[in-house]
Symmetry: C2
Subunit: 383 residues, 2 copies
């Protein structure tokens, strides 16, 4: 696997960096947002449509693909890229988060985790080693180590034991890795405890992974605490590898995290919100089902150039949503992903041109600007 | 409304004709198959995708659009074409079939029909005149008169009274028609009774409509009876206007009816079957959920050039279907509509080249050739 991360520019007024990740399936710019393709499809869209809205890389959920259709099946069919007709980079998660949020009757041991499938109740046992093997078989470009994602809040002693286990699992994962495998990223855990976060980061950094993720955030904690976790963790991470904040988030969360040095993001928010009729616009969020749009001829966002905004009125989108039409999910998802990809491109441009702080200030003053209140909730990463 | 029907070629060995219908929104070739866009969308597809699979005209359901979002709303938003971003011809039905298949508590009188919405139970009264007005407001290219679609079987006396009423309603509809209105087609009823079918056709033909439809078939009667209805009816219809068989059907039904002189068809079969994982192929029907396809790398149909067959395996389509993914409906619908449009184009070509009888023979001998058994069931025209 030819994996490479280059930093093209560092921001002077924050820890933000502009970079580029290269893989066997091409390269993409960072900061990057990866839409979630849970079951081998970013819900409702074709690969061509993803490219059209500006997507450069996607995430696949190992947990879901392992259970259905099975990684071996995908492997025999030529790997995940061929199977789903997506030629660009794919990052697969480890399933850790899903095992702890979706699966039933999970039981953790030193060696791994036993759980029941949420689909058919069948029993499974996954180890750190097996999870590396699964992602190898899928043929992903960036693989994640198996971790335990603990709930919020968790008692200190539990968080401490779990953090140690995740570190030991990371070591096993690395030992299992082969030369031709996907790039392997470790996941920093540690709950909401500064010392555990620091210990976790420092222990993992010593092992020399090709990237570092911050896990266990966006699990219901206050937004301010998510920011604290980033502040405790990122200083311990090496400069020259990508940093990935898993399962985050709103545009505001992303901008915040970019300024703290994060390079990669994934989240179901734009896709799931789209299916639920919640649209991101340059003047705030829009719930398309509202009666006020019933005869509104305007596009969702008059400043937007996406397919949806070029051809359809708010009135039509409202009608499709209320009539429970499949096209509603499609058109809304296209718009929301376009919004996200455009937002991330604006961040990249701002870093490149040395005006990120100014971009931040402008964004804060917008009607849907930074939300400093509320909780950070990772929606189940069920795309 | 500039409505015109030209016959370009008549088949020597059957009553089939190759023709062209011109409207204010362009023209299309006949025999034609119109996919059903019930609620202002051919389920799961964009207009661009319809064009890509070869669709030249679509059907909209007046009953559904009247109830939601309302014809007046669509009218104020510039008409149905603008509302749904479809620039080519639209035929709207009268709602007659839906009132008698979907609505609750329907009560018929000389003046019209009272019914309860299947959506919210609200009470509505539609008259033949109102139905013409609704379709005028929608801005459709071809409108249908309000008819009563009687169930199969129906007693003779009931069928006779209903057939007379539909004739009186047709007259009222025609009187309501204005110069700039859509072309108006009458609907021949008469149940499964030869004399009533003949009376209905002859009475309506005297009124000089711009086209004639055959309704009240594909309601559960044996296939042989549907054919009889066509044989009783078509001889009474004028040569120089289009003939439309409503709600039909399988490729075999269509070919059969073309040879009896039918020019227009609509049916939910390719779209609904697609969403249900039933695919039309050159070697027969395929139920994509079957285990035999779980690792099948081949496209659905190796002779097919549709987007789905160019890029996806049976194994992936099976996976999407079992995982209940939206993309499953999309890819299957694209394939099935492509199959239908290709089939209808083959029929057009065969007429043009004077080899329709040969085409018929070849088609009969194929594995999914003519089904002469079974019942003709119009699926609720709920696209």
């Amino acid at each position: 696997m030819a994996f490479r991360f280059e930093i093209l520019k560092k921001d002077l007024f924050s820890k933000a960096r502009l970079g580029r990740i290269s893989t066997d399936h091409g390269s993409f710019s960072t900061p990057a947002f990866l839409p979630v393709g849970t079951q081998g499809t970013v819900k409702s869209l074709t690969p061509e449509e993803l490219v059209e809205v500006g997507v450069e890389a996607i995430l696949g959920n190992t947990y879901h693909l392992y259970l259905r259709p099975g990684h071996d099946t995908i492997g025999r069919l030529g790997g995940l890229h061929t199977f789903i007709h997506w030629e660009r980079p794919i990052l697969t998660d480890s399933g850790g988060y899903q095992i702890f949020s979706l699966a039933k009757l999970r039981k953790i041991s030193e060696d791994g985790v036993t759980f029941q499938s949420h689909i058919d109740g069948s029993l499974h046992f996954l180890t750190p080693e097996k999870v590396v093997e699964i992602q190898r078989t899928l043929g992903s470009d960036i693989a994640m180590v198996l971790d335990e994602c603990i709930p919020y809040p968790s008692p200190y002693e539990y968080a401490k034991a779990s953090t140690s286990l995740t570190i030991r699992w990371a070591k096993k994962s690395l030992e299992q890795r082969q030369e031709t495998d996907p790039a392997l990223f470790a996941i920093v855990q540690g709950g909401m405890y500064q010392d555990l976060r620091e210990e976790s980061a420092q222990a993992l950094v010593k092992m020399d992974f090709q990237g570092y993720a911050i896990g266990g955030v966006s699990v219901g904690e206050p937004k301010s605490l998510m920011r604290s976790v980033l502040e405790w963790t990122t200083p311990s991470l090496p400069e020259n590898v990508p940093r990935y904040l898993m399962g985050v988030g709103t545009p505001e969360d992303i901008l915040d995290a970019v300024m703290l040095g994060i390079d990669l993001f994934d989240c179901v928010l734009p896709t799931r919100n789209g299916r639920n009729g919640m649209l991101f616009t340059s003047i705030g969020k829009m719930s398309i089902k509202q009666a006020q749009y019933s005869e509104d001829e305007r596009p969702v966002d008059e400043t937007c150039a996406c397919y949806t905004c070029r051809h359809y009125s708010r009135a039509y989108l409202r009608h499709l949503y209320l009539a429970n039409e499949i096209l509603s999910s499609r058109l809304n998802t296209i718009h929301n992903l376009y919004y996200y990809m455009n937002f991330i491109k604006s961040i990249q441009e701002a870093i490149r041109e040395g005006r990120l702080l100014n971009f931040y200030k402008t964004h804060c003053s917008r009607p849907n600007g930074l939300e400093t209140e509320g909780s950070a909730h990772r929606l189940n990463t069920w795309g």
